[in-house]
């Protein structure tokens, strides 16, 4: 899993660099577009995802102490947080599109929708990963490395969002 | 045991993407109502200009999701190979027909997307692309009919005491094939129920195939369940035999 996570991190690094190059070419447009985003939703979503990451980390700890049911509950909580994240994201997308700031509106929104879209796709994959982890926790002889690998993936999704939040919402 | 998971995963993949395709179908402005083949070139060009985003959204979604139905078809191929037919030939014919059918849809989808890519194109060329898309989408039903007939024949010849797919699936399959067949007339007719926007060529054809896919999904699911039960009892039998010997 680490290979996947590292590879993904470097792929995202490339996206971030390309974003920054385009931002560099037209900083006024990017900054002007940033104001149409709802900073509060972005920040709350960051907190939601951080919380879910924290729950997964606690879940790994509980699994190591063989408190499997507790661990499964933590993982469930993390999935719920992920779902909340996606719901807020969808609300934000719909509102922006409704106000006319669609994918094709300008370069900023192009990046905004593409990057948040790819990230949302990673969250969807994360649901599958966490479901596998939860299934693993239900078996009697669970394999710790599977649980840890799933957790690492989920933290990566969180990590990427932290950078995205900075680049898309709060950078000035 | 893990092997059976693959079939279930396949079914769920196809179900999920099939649901997304339903959204794309509703989102395509050219389906409600279906575009008339009698629209002038300028009207067609105006359609692509006015509905650019919706067309792109739904057709990109179709592009991505339509081939994701393949896992469901492949479960059917696998189950057809398990049928107690004289040979497994229908399973391979079915596979071949599915591939060609899916290729046709992928082509139609591309034509729609290319037409929407530059709506400012010469209206006559936009109309050409639009015609190509509609004709490729609606009329070449042969591959779909072929699939359904191969499946139906396989089911009829399946001599298992408890057939893999119940006989009524074969009946539904043949009826669906018959319902889709008249769409071929849309290559020549521009008005009435047989035109590509007509009740028969569009709604009956699309609706029948959608219903058939749903039937196929549930039939495949119960075939998988049955296979699991059979395997479980097969695994028990030698043990019972051993027990009897002792």
């Amino acid at each position: 899993m680490w290979l996947f996570v590292l590879g993904d991190l470097f792929i995202f690094l490339a996206y971030f660099v390309i974003f920054m190059i385009y931002r560099r070419w037209d900083p006024t447009l990017f900054l002007g577009s940033e104001r149409h985003l709802d900073l509060a939703i972005g920040a709350i979503n960051t907190l939601v995802l951080l919380t879910s990451s924290c729950l997964v980390a606690l879940g790994v700890g509980a699994a190591r102490r063989a408190q499997l049911q507790r661990a499964a509950r933590f993982v469930q909580g993390a999935i719920a947080c992920g779902a909340l994240f996606l719901a807020l994201k969808a609300f934000e997308w719909v509102r922006l599109a409704h106000d006319g700031y669609t994918f094709t509106h300008n370069n900023f929104f192009m990046f905004f929708f593409a990057l948040t879209g790819v990230h949302a796709f990673h969250i969807l994959m994360g649901f599958i990963v966490l479901a596998v982890v939860r299934r693993e926790l239900r078996t009697d002889h669970f394999r710790e490395h599977v649980v840890v690998a799933g957790a690492v993936y989920w933290h990566m999704v969180d990590l990427i969002w932290v950078v995205l939040f900075a680049l898309l919402y709060v950078m000035r | 045991m893990p092997a059976l998971n693959v079939q279930r995963i396949s079914l769920w993949i196809s179900l999920g993407f099939g649901a997304v395709m339903l959204v794309a179908f509703v989102a395509f402005p050219g389906f409600f109502p279906p575009m008339s083949p009698r629209m002038s070139a300028d009207q067609v060009a105006a359609f692509y200009r006015d509905h650019q985003s919706a067309i792109r959204f739904s057709m990109i979604t179709f592009n991505f999701c339509s081939v994701m139905l393949m896992p469901l078809y492949m479960v059917v191929v696998y189950q057809m190979k398990r049928m107690a037919t004289p040979t497994q030939v229908f399973a391979y014919s079915y596979l071949s027909a599915v591939v060609s059918g899916a290729t046709l849809f992928a082509l139609a989808d591309l034509f729609w997307l290319i037409a929407a890519f530059r709506p400012e194109r010469d209206p006559n060329l936009t109309m050409l692309l639009n015609d190509l898309a509609w004709i490729t989408f609606v009329t070449p039903v042969g591959m779909l009919i072929g699939q359904n007939l191969c499946l139906a024949l396989g089911i009829f010849f399946d001599s298992r005491p408890r057939p893999i797919f119940p006989r009524w699936v074969a009946v539904v399959s043949v009826v669906t094939a018959l319902a889709m067949a008249p769409s071929a007339a849309a290559v020549a007719v521009r008005t009435g129920p047989l035109a590509w926007n007509g009740v028969v060529s569009f709604w009956l054809r699309t609706g029948a195939y959608a219903v058939f896919l749903a039937v196929l999904f549930f039939a495949a699911r119960s075939a998988i369940n049955q296979e699991e039960r059979d395997e479980a009892s097969d695994a028990l039998e030698p043990m019972e035999a051993a027990g009897a010997a002792v």
Binding site: W2, L6, L9, F10, L13, F16, V17, M20, I21, R23, R24, P27, L31, G32, E34, R35, L39, A40, A43, T46, L47, L50, T51, S53, C54, V56, A57, L58, G61, V148, A151, V152, H155, M156, D158, L159, V162, V163, F165, A166, L167, Y169, V170, M171, R172 | -
Partner: protein
């Protein structure tokens, strides 16, 4: 530090949240209508990103207990990320 596992994770989580809220405030401190470029704000945000990322990598992903190569690669990633963002921002 002899913190229990859960305590340490919760502490990391609260730090992360505080940093997020700080960036939020930093970005909106100058009034909602004020969207002018500000190197100070951006650098502050980037510092927060570095700290947050490193916390997630080291604590949540447990890289602090990982083999050396992994620590170096993740740190390298973070350094590359911030260096390129900063370079492209200031250039």
């Amino acid at each position: 530090m002899q913190l229990s596992f859960n305590r340490r994770i919760t502490l990391v989580w609260s730090l992360l949240c505080i940093l997020t809220i700080t960036s939020w405030l930093l970005a909106s401190a100058r009034g909602h209508r004020e969207f002018s470029p500000s190197t100070g704000v951006t650098i502050g945000i980037l510092v927060a990103v570095v700290v947050k990322s490193r916390l997630i990598i080291q604590q949540f992903m447990e890289v602090r207990a990982a083999p050396n190569w992994l620590r170096h690669v993740t740190d390298g990633w973070l350094a590359l990320l911030v260096a390129s963002i900063l370079a492209l921002y200031l250039w």
